[in-house]
């Protein structure tokens, strides 16, 4: 009720509530802002609720049923979740998701920071930025197809390795190397994207701060450590959340790398949770298990939601004004 009263000062005034003095103390502009809050916010709130919250609620509800999408739902309670965690395929999918999140994330950001240090001080940096951003524009399907050409035993990569004296190069495309290759491609494509965002933040840092650091005798790493990192922290924090959320959605690259024309699915050891959800919801030749699929999706959602919250908390810093 308190919230309602705050939200609707006109109604509160009509009821003659005691907080009149406090309300009157607000400026006319502030009162106007408060009056217009819900008319402006309501469409977005309704839209968000209908498009996101209701479907998530429906998915959560479905996850407690056995359902093929057509027949009547059968209540299974927490059994779907129990089966899920007993399923080695799901456990390995979850592990792969976390590998993408943490290993992929660490590599991506370390490289992005390195590039940031180099790009900030190089000539033709706008051109260089465009070049490193380019992989982000290419569809994952292209990488899946290109990999077969580039990394085949007698492909260009191995030819270069032979030329520099590597006589037994790795079997890049073996099923054991499939997930590391996928991870490498994710890092390669994501690095340019995050470097571009971090660089946009770095561009806002006044150059005199760098000049001062240089006068103090800081080398490039020290300038990054003491100037770039703290002043671009808010942007980096947003990038970390973006990465966390987007890592959950990676799907097509795994399908493109591992799927073959005849194969029922990519090898299970290369699945992440998104792939697990897809294969469970749309098995090519067996009955859909939508309850299990939504249970897997809910686990991934909760996990990523939790990690995002922790990340926001850990990365929270007082804003530095400059």
């Amino acid at each position: 009720m308190a919230a309602l009263s705050t939200a609707f000062p006109r109604a509160r005034r009509a009821r003659g509530e005691a907080s009149r003095a406090k309300t009157n103390s607000r400026s006319p502009l502030e009162r106007q802002h408060r009056r217009m809050f819900w008319p402006f916010a309501a469409p977005a709130v309704i839209f968000y609720t209908v498009i996101f919250l209701v479907p998530i609620g429906y998915a959560a509800w479905t996850s407690f049923y056995k359902w093929d999408g057509v027949s009547d739902k059968k209540w299974r309670g927490w059994k779907n979740y129990q089966v899920l965690f007993d399923d080695p395929a799901f456990r390995s999918s979850l592990t792969n998701t976390l590998k993408i999140l943490f290993v992929g994330g660490a590599c991506t950001f370390v490289i992005a920071f390195g590039l940031t240090m180099a790009l900030r001080e190089m000539r033709a940096r706008l051109f260089a930025r465009s070049v490193i951003f380019f992989p982000c524009l290419v569809n994952a399907m292209v990488f899946g197809i290109l990999a077969g050409f580039l990394f085949s035993p007698d492909g260009p990569v191995n030819q270069v390795l032979h030329d520099v004296g590597v006589s037994t190069p790795p079997k890049w495309l073996s099923t054991d190397n499939q997930f590391p290759m996928i991870l490498g491609t994710i890092i390669w494509t994501a690095t340019g994207y995050y470097t571009a965002i971090i660089m946009a933040g770095v561009d806002q840092i006044p150059t005199y701060l760098y000049e001062a650091a240089e006068l103090d005798g800081c080398n490039a790493f020290q300038r990054f450590r003491h100037v770039t990192l703290p002043l671009a922290w808010e942007v980096i924090s947003v990038c970390a959340v973006l990465w966390t959320v987007s890592s959950l959605q990676i799907f097509e690259l795994i399908l493109a790398f591992g799927g073959t024309q005849n194969s029922a699915a990519p090898p299970v050891n290369s699945w992440n949770t998104a792939m697990y959800v897809y294969e469970t919801a749309f098995p090519p030749r067996s009955t859909p298990q939508l309850g299990m699929a939504t249970a897997a999706a809910m686990v991934a959602l909760v996990l990523i939601g939790f990690i995002t919250l922790v990340l926001r908390r850990v990365m929270r810093r007082a804003a530095i004004e400059y």
Binding site: P55, I56, Y58, A59, D68, G69, V70, S71, V83, D86, D87, P88, A89, M141, G144, A147, G148, F151, S152, P153, D154, K171, W172, L173, S174, T175, Q178, F251, E252, L255, A256, G258, G259, T260, Q261, N262, S263, A264, A265, P267, V268, N269, V277, Y278, E279, A281, F282, P283, P284, R285, S286, T287, P288, Q289, L290, A293, T294, A296, A297, L301
Partner: protein, 429 residues
């Protein structure tokens, strides 16, 4: 049978299913015109099959005046059909591989019983549909959840065999007559090896085509793959015949008869290499002839043979089915009876370089050997119908690839699949 690009196109649908249930999946109206019906095709408009079928639909409308709303959705059709049925917006007619139709509709009792269609007259032929489409194809399929056998009318049939270039002098010299036993086949491989020609092409990452060799060895040893993998105790893997099948399969790997580097390439690298004559045999579905037809030399002559000792060729049929909730099922049924006319099926066979289910439609030259094999009195399903099922994907596929890549000996492979299978079924109980 399911291509990666098409499956990719279903990503959006998958996401919606995962996050939003089935709120927004249906995409098309299921209503047809007064005398017409709607059809969702598993083919794309660019594929030869799609082109041939498009012509036949146009012809049908011209002949009968019945309007058909045709949508060429490609393999994505199977991800769209379930939400469409749920939303009561299903097409009146759709087609797919029978295994896919079973998984998405028949297994849940959502496919119409087409037994009455078998009694319908084929226009101008004085025969019924049931008299011209061999019953063995449907008899090989599982019954739907209501006990219905005829939930699909198959019009195209494929089979998996060892394909080779019958005009290749190396192969002709090594194999004057088809091998009668597996040991004879290994001798053929030895003869080819002596000429520095790998006996077998293999897309090493593909558990399905490579697994077919093991599946056929099991069949030759009298073991049913589906029974084997459905055994919750795993005891079926203790059958000595299973180990024998694994050992025979292993002969190809341990004997280095498979093309070198097969375990580190990506589809379709090895298929392309095979089509250029680098190796001899390639286990694949009979669509391989249309896939490689433009790549092979003009002297190439497709031959196909079943692995020695096999009791029945496998069959993969593609056919029409009608959702139970179809609004114009009668019109769709009439069309099926019209479609299976000899002239129509012959046009389909020649345009798409494919085998039809009519025995009186000659096979394209590339597929005469396959048609001969399919003339047998009985056929079986690949992996006895288990391919693409959860237990196949999660239990068999990964372990088989390790075995196929030489990382597991036959005994280790059998023991590992057995253990994985027991724990899989335990988790599902």
């Amino acid at each position: 049978m399911t291509t990666t690009p098409r499956r990719l196109a279903a990503v959006g649908t998958a996401a919606v299913i995962a996050a939003a249930g089935l709120s927004a999946c249906s995409s098309s109206s299921g209503s047809g015109s007064k005398d017409g019906f709607t059809y969702w095709s598993m083919w794309t408009a660019q594929e030869p099959q799609g082109q041939a079928i498009k012509k036949l639909f146009d012809q049908y409308t011209a002949e009968t005046g019945v309007k058909v709303d045709v949508q060429f959705l490609g393999r994505d059709v199977n991800t769209r059909i379930v939400p469409a049925i749920t939303a009561n917006k299903a097409p009146d007619l759709w087609d797919q591989g029978s295994d896919v139709i079973y998984g998405s509709a028949a297994s849940t009792g959502q496919a119409l019983d087409l037994t009455p269609v078998l009694s319908m007259q084929v226009p101008g032929e004085g025969k019924t549909v049931g008299e011209i489409i061999p019953a063995k194809y449907n008899q090989a399929l599982p019954k739907d959840s209501n006990g219905v056998q005829n939930w699909v009318i198959p019009y195209i049939v494929s089979s998996a065999e060892f394909f080779y270039n019958a005009a290749d002098p190396d192969i002709k010299a090594a194999m004057p007559t088809p091998p009668a036993t597996w040991a004879d086949f290994i001798k053929v491989c030895d003869a080819l090896k002596a000429k520095s020609k790998p006996c077998l092409a293999s897309e090493g990452e593909d558990d399905w085509t490579n697994g077919l060799i093991f599946d056929y060895r099991l069949n030759a040893a009298g073991v049913n793959f589906a029974d084997l993998t459905n055994d919750k105790t795993g005891a079926a893997w203790d059958n000595p015949a299973v180990l024998k099948a694994a050992q025979e399969t292993d002969q190809l790997i341990a004997g280095h008869y498979v093309v070198p580097g097969y375990d580190a390439t990506k589809t379709p690298a090895q298929e392309t290499a095979w089509a250029s004559g680098k190796d001899a045999f390639f286990m694949n579905g009979s669509w391989v002839t249309s896939e490689t037809g433009k790549e092979v030399a003009s002297t190439w002559k497709y031959g196909a043979m079943l692995p020695p000792g096999v009791t029945a060729p496998d069959s993969m049929t593609f056919g029409f089915t009608i959702p139970k909730k179809a609004k114009h099922a009668d019109a769709a049924e009439k069309f099926i009876a019209w479609f299976v006319q000899q002239k129509n099926m012959a046009a389909l066979a020649s345009t798409a370089d494919t085998l039809t289910t009519r025995t009186d439609v000659p096979a394209p030259a590339d597929l005469t050997d396959v048609q001969k094999a399919l003339d047998s009195s009985a056929v079986r399903l690949t992996f006895d119908g288990q391919s693409g099922d959860d237990v196949y994907t999660k239990v068999f596929a990964q372990n088989f690839l390790d075995f196929w890549h030489g990382k597991l000996a036959p005994e280790q492979f059998v023991a590992k699949v057995k253990a994985t299978q027991v724990s899989y079924w335990k988790s599902q109980s």
